[in-house]
Symmetry: none
Subunit: 198 residues, 4 copies
DNA sequence: TATGAATGAGCATTCATTCAT
DNA sequence: TATGAATGAATGCTCATTCAT
């Protein structure tokens, strides 16, 4: 929300937010092939204005993805200070899924962008802290890592999205199932070692 | 002469198979934006030939998706005859995920095609039978339906795909977690009723 | 004129010629920034058709430049068989300048194209033969090389083009001056050694 | 206050010079398609500032071209006062070509600008005086006019520029050849009458 | 049926120029 | 005067689809 590098003029800052919002909506509606023209139209600015804010379509996508990572990091850090480790992890997954559900942008990738990589690592770290606390409290299996949970964030929304005509809250069902799968009820080892993080 | 729907000439039938195979490979390699030109090149035919077999790109995608549903249906029906209900369900999910992993075509959608809808319903039915048997045997929660499992088919591969540099077998870890989530260990009710199927 | 690689269908070959002609005219009229759209319009075809004949604007330019080199090579080789070495060289420069004058495309460059490089080398070789014969006959200075004359081909037209409102034949005046500069009247050495050819 | 045309503030005058210098460099480096944005960047000012000094890109080009004409005029007038008429003409062409070679802006045209036309006429007049003196001294043919030499100014650099990998001083070779072509050694008449000047 | 060619609609991106501050 | 921002008009290029043979 609050950027540090260059204090934009008020009108430009407004247009930037307008554009990011329009882009999210357009990507959610039309997929990754949403056109810059449509995004500009939706934001009520000229096509060229998009490029005066983001040097390329890739950079626009990176800004969106980065923002989402940053928002989730804020959520994770806030929940780290709560009393109940189990509720904290569960609430994080719920809030995350809820945010994703609003606009499914799961398909957006921005891998080669260093800022996004950094923000993704920040989120990974915050999630790992949440998981460490939950594991220490015995509410998740000993084998479960922060990376596991990081990868699972989008799963409930994605699963519900496979239904051709689902209730908007269906993802909650699959989140509960997955969360139960993380619990230390079963002693069996998982068939693969925990994934490393680059 | 013997087959019912459309008696294709032998070489035409061969071209059709060539095209479907080429299209799958190209979609797997380049994503949904793979071009008809590249598919035709890979199949060794002219671009226009693609359109003499499939009226549009959508129809080509529908054919691929339909084939995948049909293959999974075969797997599900075969496993219905096996002795162990738990192993049958687990094996189905494993074989399905394995096939998807080979060529991740999860992103392909073909919603408005009636043949695809029919094949999808066939798969849904076969999976439901598998789940009914598993539930009756007490290896999955009473609340779990065939629709649930149908929706979960792609999840393990999708989850592992969120890792920037994952082991090719990582999906097995998440499949085990999800399968554990389906088990009747926990008594708590799931937060959402089972989804209906259209 | 007669290409070897792939025998185009009659209509395609016609469109190709139409496009090359239109492109030459458009480049001559608007300079190197002539647009593909205008070229296509002038040729009476769709924009995309340009790209079905030439993969890029660069390739179209290369085709034009290559054709011009090839045509000049034909002229040079023909004159090599004529009786008078002085007239042969002079006529070559005249015919070349005349062809260039029709459409000043001096500004077109296609350096990185291997076919063009080859055709340019062919022309260089043919011109060198013409110059060798003229030198042997004592009608040009001993120091003058084929490379010198190759570089001088465009000069008369370019010089006349610096006049804001010149007679269309003014280039002949500067060709005569330059040709006189090549004659062995003066014994003084030229201030720079003859240029090498890559 | 003291100067007549437009009393610029000191910093504005400085920006103007900065911009002209930056524009020359950028045009020399990137050709006529050098962008206003790059020029402004190089000058260290905002894009819009360019337009507060020059109403359009054309006008900026006209200013550069006009400056070059004016500089050459100074050179020609200075050499008019030298003792040797032949050396004066030769030196003029050498100094001119040298300046052009440093930054080849030959491609810049600014025809419809009245100030440029005036400066070009000034140069034409100064060159004509140089040529008249040389002709009177018998060092150039009787037929050669100031207009001829004016048109020939850029030729040596242009000719050397046709070589794909030339020595930076190669233009001197062609200047010598052309200058020899101007000498009164040959009695033959040139094939075209001297061009008039508008 | 198979195909070489043609094409209309569209896309990301650029740029000279204008505007408000 | 200087500038950050905005923009309309182009531009090279792509692609699914159509057409004539």
């Amino acid at each position: 929300m609050i950027s540090s590098a260059r204090p934009l003029r008020a009108d430009a800052a407004r247009n930037r937010e307008l554009l990011l919002a329009a882009a999210e909506e357009e990507f959610a509606a039309r997929g990754i092939d949403a056109s810059i023209a449509d995004i500009a139209d939706r934001a009520g600015v000229a096509k060229a204005t998009v490029f005066s804010h983001f040097a390329s379509k890739e950079e626009l996508i990176a800004a969106i993805v980065g923002n989402h990572f940053a928002e989730l990091t804020v959520v994770a850090r806030r929940l780290l200070t709560s009393a109940d480790p189990e509720a904290a992890l569960s609430d994080f997954l719920t809030e995350a899924a809820h945010g994703i559900k609003q606009q499914d942008l799961t398909f957006l990738r921005a891998d080669d962008d260093s800022r996004v990589t950094e923000l993704r690592n920040d989120l990974h770290e915050a999630v790992s802290a949440l998981v460490d606390r939950a594991r220490a409290a015995g509410v998740v299996r000993a084998e479960i890592t922060g990376t596991d949970v990081f990868l699972l964030i989008c799963a409930p929304v994605h699963i519900a999205g496979c239904h051709p005509d689902a209730d908007p809250d269906l993802w909650r069902r699959y989140q509960a199932i997955i969360f139960d799968g993380l619990r230390p009820t079963r002693a069996e080892l998982l068939p693969q070692p925990p994934p490393s993080w680059p």
